[in-house]
Amino acid sequence: MRVTPVRLLSSLASLAFAGTAGANTSNGYNLPPGVTDISQAIYGLHMEIFWVCVGIAVVVFGAMIYSLVMFRHSKGAVPDTTMVHSTKVEIVWTIIPVLILVAMAVPAAEIILKMEDTRNSELTVRVTGYQWKWQYQYMDQAEGIGFFSTLKQDSNFARQLNSGVDPSTVPNYLLDVDHPLVVPSGTKVRILLTSQDVIHAWWVPDFGVKRSAIPGFVNELWFKVEPGKEGIYRGQCVALCGRDHGFMPVVVDVRTPDDFKKWVEEQKAALKQAAAPAAAAPATAQVVDVKPAG
């Protein structure tokens, strides 16, 4: 991308109205409200605590600024050296923050309980982190389907040191993969998350889910995308996992339950074909137990 002062200024001016990229719901400077109950609840909590902080800031910064303006030595202000202590005031400004915190902790606790309730899931996918790609293996009705998901070739080419390719010409630069995770909308999808090497973390901002993928551990998380919100949702690995940590995106393709069913059938047919002795070139799906090279 060519950087000119004009471009920088114009982009600064337009920041307040920054557009969204793809289906992601962030406006470019705030959390995405997202497309699940959880992500929207988190967004609500985030805005609530934000405004609480703004409120406290107005009062405290207001008092500071008032002091800075009104009680200046240069304006002949005379210090009130008797003002050194007031038990009453000190109790008040200890109690009020406690009350605010309790008021914030209650809704937060409710969301935690909801997030951790992984019962009654309708589709389970095992997600495994590798340096530097994700493996998705389906269970339940899509049992047998599984594949690796790696950074798309055009991004991978452009991201090399001095590649000469302008990243802004690459669609969804660094946020696109060869095989996205495909899931149905309106369905409670459970992810069982682990890692084969170092600690990774799987995050889709629009779903409000982020968990570490830890070798030797299986972490559980779930999301349920509202019907009508089908689309491609993008995230990234968010735990430093070595050299190419920045280059293992998470891409989820949310389809309607019907489309998902169709996709599962296609994948299963491709699997059957690949398993047959005189099979043609394998399709996008790979056999579950494929080990990554290297």
Binding site: I38, A57, S67, I199, R243
Partner: protein
């Protein structure tokens, strides 16, 4: 008796001036010399760590990789953190403690001067070892300053060097802490009971206990890394029945109190400066001490908030969320007390006060984002994004670092006997205060919009704020050259400072009763404190 007395007098005279040459520094046992060495060392490390930050911001100026490969980028982020935390901020506070604790409590020196020498001279070796990893096969540590296994154990030759460097830093910190505690407990001037002791000494006393409590924990954690790497143990190796998450627990049991080790002395400094330039005693001095002690206690029971996304039972999530939120209460008390100190005062804005006021505002912003991060569900969205980077840089740079600069500008005339160039110092302040916000404020937006931390390259929608942040970074980095210029000029000469230094303001404490520069040996006879 007369003979003995004459002997002592002769002895004193002999040592009244420092010995000349390199031996003065190599064999230093004088708290002022050792304090100076700590502060100079810290300033050098501040520029070394800062230049690494410049590499990071230059690479992040626009998308695509233009300057460094991802491996080297990771080395820069890791080394930047290690150097700034262990090489710049912590030694700066120890240097200030060395200079100011004896002067403030009316003691002739630190209690254990030879150990003091040792704890300083370990540091250049520790950082030579750490920095030399940049030149060994496989490069410097690149797994983050948190050294999480298994990633850190994939490293090349740096692994043992990193671990021994951390051991050396830990040993140095523990010795420094022991010295502060022993000095404060045993060498206060007659009449100075603990409640009369200046807040800077109080905050350092509490910090010293934190250091003694947690540095051995870090040493234990890195030793387990060492045996995992070289001696076939499996503390953190899942394949051998170990537990990578255990390292995180042990590390953050050190790591969270470490955060307060880097901010409590800053609180002490601010509590000294604001009353001086408000010409009014500190409001609620006793509640300040209680608040500092409560923060120190709470710092031991909040470590889990660094690990919410690693998977934790609901009960643990609730516990760590609430204990973390509780820290806001004593911290709030401190901010309110400082504000109340300025209220109905008579304020003037010399460089130390400017930095202290900026600290109040900007540290509070870091506190607000900390409160947001404490809420577990929201933390799931913020964790490991630039929002966290913005948060801890707000508390560390305009927090801890501004407090250190405020302290230097406050006591520099006492150390050198010269006033410094006020205009230049104020220019340094305004440039720093403006650029630090240009640098770190946009990182809140980047994090919320979804940019992970510790990535060398990013999706194009993050370009604008990254450019703004990088411009702020370059501006902030360059502004710090002024800091060095002001200090060097002041050491070389300038208008003579009086013993009070801040004429017209109300500096309070024993350090202002002795001449400027502070004589090489001060308080050889204990002052009487009423």
């Amino acid at each position: 008796m007369a003979h003995a007395h004459a002997d002592t007098a002769h002895h004193d005279e002999h040592h009244d001036q420092p010995i000349s040459g390199i031996r003065r520094w190599l064999f230093a046992t004088n708290h002022k010399d050792i304090g100076t060495m700590y502060l100079v060392f810290s300033l050098i490390m501040f520029f070394v760590g800062g230049s690494m930050a410049m590499v990071i911001r230059a690479e992040l100026f626009k998308p695509g990789l233009q300057l460094v490969d991802p491996g080297f980028f990771n080395q820069m982020t890791t080394m930047h953190a290690l150097i700034m935390i262990f090489g710049a901020v912590m030694p700066a506070f120890v240097g200030l403690a060395n200079w100011m604790v004896p002067l403030q409590i009316g003691a002739p020196d630190m209690a254990l001067p030879r150990m003091n020498n040792f704890s300083f001279w370990i540091l250049p070796f520790a950082f030579t070892l750490l920095l030399s990893t940049l030149f060994v096969p496989g490069g410097a540590p690149a797994g983050g300053w948190t050294m999480y296994p298994p990633l850190v154990l994939q490293g090349g030759n740096f692994v043992p060097m990193l671990i021994f460097a951390v051991h050396l830093m830990g040993a140095s910190s523990i010795m420094g802490a022991i010295n502060v505690i022993v000095t404060i407990m045993n060498m206060r001037a007659p009449g100075m009971n603990l409640l009369k002791m200046p807040l800077f000494c109080w905050s350092w006393l509490i910090t010293a206990y934190l250091l003694i409590a947690v540095m051995p924990v870090l040493a234990g954690a890195v030793t387990m890394l060492l045996t995992d790497h070289f001696f076939g143990t499996s503390f953190f190796n899942a394949a051998g029945g170990g537990d990578p998450v255990m390292f995180e627990h042990v590390f953050w049991f050190f790591g969270h109190p470490e955060v307060y080790i880097m901010i409590l002395p800053a609180f002490g400094i601010i509590s000294e400066i604001i009353p001086t330039f408000s010409r009014k005693p500190l409001f609620g001095a006793v509640s300040m001490i209680y608040a500092t002690a409560s923060i120190a206690f709470l710092s031991f029971i909040v470590w889990g908030h660094h690990m919410f996304v690693d998977g934790m039972p609901v009960a643990a999530q609730l516990f760590f969320m609430m204990s973390t939120m509780l820290i806001a209460v004593p911290t709030g008390v401190k901010v309110f007390n400082w504000t109340a100190t300025m209220w109905r005062g008579s304020l003037s804005f010399e460089p130390p006060m400017l930095f202290a006021v900026a600290f109040l505002f900007l540290f509070s912003i870091g506190g607000f984002s900390g409160l947001m991060l404490a809420l577990t569900p929201a933390d799931f969205q913020y964790q490991n994004t630039y929002f966290v980077v913005a948060h801890f840089h707000y508390v560390l740079v305009p927090g801890a670092v501004f407090a250190i600069m405020a302290a230097v500008y406050y006591w520099l005339p006492k150390w050198t006997g010269n006033m410094y160039n006020m205009t230049l110092a104020k220019t340094h302040f305004w440039l720093s205060a403006i650029f630090v916000n240009v640098l770190f404020f946009p990182q809140h937006f980047l994090g919320l919009a979804g940019m992970p931390r510790r990535i060398p390259d990013y999706a194009v929608q993050f370009t604008d704020w990254n450019m703004v942040s990088s411009i702020g970074g370059f501006g902030f980095g360059l502004s710090q050259i002024l800091f060095a210029v002001v200090i060097i000029q002041c050491v070389r000469g300038g208008a003579k400072a009086t013993s009070t230094v801040w004429e017209g303001a109300t500096p309070h404490g024993l350090e202002w009763t002795i001449p400027s520069p502070a004589p090489y040996h001060s308080f050889t006879e204990a002052p009487e404190v009423k």
